[in-house]
Symmetry: C2
Subunit: 332 residues, 2 copies
């Protein structure tokens, strides 16, 4: 039976506020380079007042992934909470504009907080330091999960960052149960090592019991499995998760399924803004999987998509990914 | 006496919503290519729902000009109306982030309309078709003009588009009077040929009586002076305006002062998005003038700034303009 959706994503709905800065600015503002840090509305306002010229583009890790799948023509939906405000309208537009279904109930105009945003500071080396004001997206709750949508998903894709909200654990559980109940499968991205530190037990339980496909980068794999080498972490992960996909930036991606291992080299490119690399990797990989490609081909697709998104500012894909696949001799 | 401000701009405060489309999309939506067309909020919502992935960046013709001057280290202020909403906050941030003074009273949260926006549709040839919802910026009124600020300006810079608001004619008159009263000078950009058609008499009167520096492109010059050739239009303009600056896209810029004429060739570049070319030309030109450079050098600076802004998406300058000037052997 073909399900209505190939992938339904759940995550933090965010508008990215992208600005360039130098390392001194990061140091002067106590911003740790290259990671995501949570900030409140006051800090967001203060930081925003001090950054230079900015550009607003829809973001959100899982939303970037879903937008990438939709760009490829995949059948997708996304769940993540925005407010009935202008930034919320921008977020909703950009998902729907690429063909994803998006119908999470809006937080009303008089709700506390605003639509979440992430002040992404891009340094000259292309590294990004993310300062996230969660706003209303923090309050994603079980009532926001439409069980029939989850039941109609071949895959659900969960964003690790969303573990930073107490009601979202329940929301995830509801989604997983509905999806698995009709033979759907569960994928997750660990999002970042600090997020893992905050929610190690919850991640471990979900990986053991529910997850069929794990996306993580090297640092996240090491943090999650508390081992020194990526190989050891892959082995531990592959013992409990069907497919393990560990991205390793310019060293490409390592894939494990049972005792099988694949390595797919990265696609070299000039890094303008690393935002969205992991998200778009996951998007193209999931699309390939949903379309029935081999894991190694899926890894190659993911690497191509990641290289596209880091070659320009912003975390949504701009070039025609299918055309890029063809240039890399991937027949579709 | 050194005035506090080198240039104070008055114009339509706008956030640009940039999206790519093809010519068929323009035709299918009855959008005339390459010009600015005014739309209401309903049409803006409908059009926005149908365009693809978009990026939000502060825009507004005179605001782009002022941001460019501020980027160069010039002392500037800007007057243009936004609302107390998220897009208004984005607009205000981006001007202040580059060092311009911006303190126009906000339209309150309960005012009719929203912060103005311009849906800029960029076709593969880099041409842009602008669909402008004016929103609250339409209601710029004399009460928004701070006479002491205008009196403290060596130059004011008026955006022709703002003639599309009845109260703004009065606002312009108030600003001109305050500025001229202390020996300041008046510059204006004609904005577009259709805007000239809508307000020909008002433009003609202002050019005759008040304007010291006119910026216009070829089409605007021909429309304004109702002659066939640019040379003839320049002659008519130079008879009533001290400095006449006519940009002619890839053919560079023609400058007239009295009987003197200069031509400065364009700086070739690959056009990604033509948005802001004229605005940044005017910004760099005005900055040069305020800093005491010859008109020909100002023209060269303008051409360099225009070539920078059309080489990327968005109408605000990104590269270091002074560094670019140095690369073109303009000593600062």
């Amino acid at each position: 039976m073909t399900k209505k959706f190939q992938v339904v994503g759940i995550g933090n709905a965010m508008v990215d506020v992208l600005a360039h800065c130098d390392d001194a600015f990061l140091a002067g503002h106590g911003i740790e380079k290259g990671i995501m840090q949570l900030i409140d509305l006051d800090r967001a306002a203060k930081l925003y007042a001090e950054v230079g010229l900015a550009t607003e583009m829809s973001g959100g890790s899982a939303a970037n992934t879903i937008a990438g799948i939709a760009h490829l023509g995949g059948r997708t939906a996304y769940v993540g909470k925005v407010k009935d405000d202008q930034l919320g309208a921008i977020f909703a537009h950009d998902l729907r504009a690429q063909g994803a279904v998006y119908d999470t109930p809006l937080a009303p105009k008089d709700a506390d907080g605003e639509t979440g945003r992430c002040i992404v500071l891009v340094t000259p080396d292309g590294e990004r330091s993310m300062n996230t004001y969660l706003g209303v997206t923090e309050h994603l709750a079980p009532s926001d999960i439409d069980e029939s949508q989850m039941a109609d998903a071949a895959w659900i894709f969960l964003e690790g960052y969303r573990f930073d909200g107490p009601e979202s654990h329940e929301a995830f559980a509801k989604a997983i149960s509905a999806c698995k109940g009709t033979g759907g499968r569960v994928s997750i991205t660990l999002s970042d090592p600090f997020c893992i530190d905050r929610h190690r037990d919850a991640f471990a339980k979900m990986l053991r019991e529910d997850v069929d496909l794990l996306f993580a980068n090297r640092a996240e794999m090491l943090s999650m499995y508390q081992v020194d080498g990526l190989g050891a972490a892959m082995a531990k992960a592959a013992a409990e998760v069907d497919i393990v996909v560990a991205t390793d930036s310019e060293h490409g991606v390592h894939i494990a399924q049972g005792d099988n291992r694949w390595h797919v080299p990265a696609v070299p490119t000039k890094v303008v803004d690393a935002t969205g690399a992991g998200d778009l990797f996951a998007g193209a990989f999931l699309w390939g999987l949903a379309e029935g490609y081999d894991l190694e081909v899926c890894g190659h697709m993911g690497n191509i998509a990641a290289s596209e998104v880091i070659s320009h500012l912003g975390a949504r894909v701009e070039a025609d990914l299918k055309a890029l696949f063809a240039q890399h001799s991937i027949g579709l």
